[in-house]
């Protein structure tokens, strides 16, 4: 009898631990939305989302500069990180011999483990000084003086590209490995070269996994805070939309929250939570995209 009672208690306890995750997600959603919604209701959703001015001290809360800043750095990160990550994954699966792979795989793991503040510090010195030299040297005539500090969208994009590499490499690696051997053998048997087989057969066959990898990379880049704060310059202005914008200091959604939460008054805090809502919505949209993709693949 005692044993049966113990069994029941254990089962209840385990069930409670299991639904902790569900409660956490609900609580996170509820609290962020509850705290942030009043700003949208008070100033109007379009004014907050598309307002070009962020000036909390005079009660103007336009998030648009941060939305543009976030999209901008994420785009740069993906444009650099995705092809590079995919390339490394292909290299590891198809070309590298075991000894080299044994060197690269742990290196990728370590890259994933380095704290974001360390990436930030590295970016602040190693990457920023190169960008600053470029801005003050050959590009000095084309850039306004406040674009010559080295703190820029491009600097942040480069650091983020390195930071999302592990995500993209690991997931496209799994996708490439999951392609049935017969595809490759069939293609090679037809006399097609190894490289042609890779880009005409293997990569297309692993397409949905590779896209998932890229989407998760985007998620990581969107959500990164510390490394971005330390290199992007944090000016809440919309970057110019031509090539000089690459060198503009800007601010991301995440940076906006982290920088100002420490001293924000009540309404200002709500505006920062509203920034959090925008970030949250970005992530939800991305996650649904991944779920859709996985489902479509499952049906196939």
């Amino acid at each position: 009898m005692n044993r049966i009672l113990e069994e029941k208690i254990v089962k209840v306890f385990l069930f409670i631990t299991a639904i902790t995750a569900v409660f956490s997600v609900l609580l996170i959603g509820v609290f962020v939305f509850m705290e942030g919604m009043p700003i949208f209701l008070k100033y109007g959703i379009t004014d907050v989302l598309f307002g070009p001015v962020w000036n909390p001290s005079s009660g103007v809360y336009g998030i648009w500069p941060m939305i543009v800043g976030t999209i901008y750095v994420t785009l740069i990160a993906i444009l650099i990180g995705a092809p590079m990550g995919l390339g490394v994954a292909v290299y590891l699966v198809e070309i590298a011999n075991k000894r080299i792979a044994k060197l690269i795989v742990p290196a990728v793991e370590l890259l994933a483990g380095i704290p974001s503040v360390v990436y930030g510090l590295f970016g602040m010195f190693a990457v920023r000084s190169i960008i600053a030299e470029l801005e003050r040297g050959p590009l000095a005539d084309y850039l306004p003086s406040n674009y010559q500090t080295g703190y820029s969208v491009l600097t942040a994009g480069i650091i983020l590209a390195i930071m999302i590499l592990p995500t993209i490499i690991n997931i496209s690696l799994d996708a490439l490995k999951a392609v049935p051997r017969e595809y490759k053998e069939g293609s090679l048997a037809l006399g097609v070269s190894h490289w042609q087989t890779i880009y005409k057969v293997l990569v297309p066959a692993a397409k949905s996994g590779i896209i998932t990898a890229i989407i998760l990379g985007v998620g990581r880049a969107l959500g990164e805070t510390m490394a971005v704060i330390m290199v992007i310059g944090n000016t809440p202005l919309v970057p110019v939309l031509d090539w000089t914008g690459l060198f503009a200091p800007a601010r991301s959604l995440t940076a906006n929250i982290a920088l100002e939460m420490g001293y924000a008054g009540p309404e200002h805090q709500q505006a920062l939570f509203a920034t959090g809502i925008v970030l949250f919505v970005f992530i939800i949209v991305l996650n649904s995209l991944t779920t859709l993709l996985v489902r479509r693949k499952g049906r196939k």
Binding site: F13, A21, L27, G113, P115, F125, S193, H194, G219
Partner: protein, 280 residues
């Protein structure tokens, strides 16, 4: 045909360069931080308090803060995460509740850390202030628990899945209850995998900054209890670099962090290899 061979050669060369570039980037980052920061590290740096807003002196309070925060977070997160994994793997078959729990775990893994920070701030720091003491190690730990939960659940579940069913059946056939089987047989067998997950989570807590920026308070004093504010090494690095502008202290702290992360990663992969060995 000649063309095809040439293309392949060019493509393969490019891909090898990318592979090696990844290793070079890692070596460059670690080398850069260590070369700038290693000279700062001394017994005194590790064991004394900071002076002048952290621009001089050591990082002792940040080390204490990191240890407290990691311990509290893991003590709370481990039973919850492992319990959830046991429930998912041993007690239910596929159902609506299970898929809801899985979905929530996936969703938690995708939420940006600053959003965890916002939540922790609104819920633990403000709303539960009488219980948590406001900005405190406890508030930050509870926030940290929600962040590391997916990692622990996932790795523990993988480890449990790897335990062959014949073990469960054999034990149950001897008349033991389900929980006795799990406690006495399944958990010990899956232990290296569970420990891998715990170590990875420790790495996550050590490296996390954004969420703790909003929940830990960031005071430079040595915490006396769980209800005191504190700062971790990562948070110290950020504050010293961005607010105080003491770059040599920042690099010294970064070097300590790099060493810590190296140790954590090597330990995790050692346990992982033991798990693989156990089932092959």
């Amino acid at each position: 045909m000649n063309n095809v061979a040439r293309n392949q050669k060019i493509a393969f060369t490019c891909l090898s360069v990318l592979g090696l570039l990844t290793v070079c980037i890692l070596i460059y980052i670690i080398g850069y931080i260590v070369s700038q920061g290693l000279h700062m590290i001394s017994w005194e740096f590790l064991t004394t308090k900071p002076r002048k807003m952290g621009s001089e002196g050591g990082i002792y309070p940040a080390i204490v803060g990191t240890v407290y925060l990691v311990l509290t977070t893991m003590i709370i997160a481990t039973p919850i995460g492992v319990g959830a994994a046991i429930y998912l793997n041993e007690y239910t078959s596929r159902g609506k509740i299970t898929s809801m729990i899985r979905f929530a775990t996936e969703a938690l893994a995708g939420i940006p850390s600053i959003v965890f920070g916002l939540f922790g701030f609104a819920f633990f720091v403000i709303l539960l202030k009488p219980v948590t003491g406001g900005w405190s190690i406890l508030s930050a730990s509870l926030t940290g628990v929600t962040m590391v939960l997916p990692t622990i659940v996932r790795t523990a579940e993988e480890a449990l899945k790897a335990v062959p069913d014949s073990l469960r059946e054999g034990s149950l056939a001897l008349g033991t209850t389900k929980w006795q089987t799990i406690k006495g047989l399944i958990l010990p067998t899956a232990m290296p995998g569970i420990i891998t997950g715990i170590i990875l989570s420790i790495g996550r807590v050590v490296g996390e900054t954004a969420a703790f920026l909003l929940t830990l308070g960031g005071t430079i004093l040595i915490p006396q209890s769980l209800f005191d504010g504190s700062r971790t090494l990562s948070l110290h690095l950020y504050m010293v670099a961005m607010e105080t502008g003491a770059m040599d202290v920042a690099f010294g702290t970064a070097a300590v962090l790099i060493v810590l992360i190296l140790v954590i990663n090597i330990t995790a992969s050692w346990f992982f290899r033991r798990l693989v060995k156990r089932f092959s």
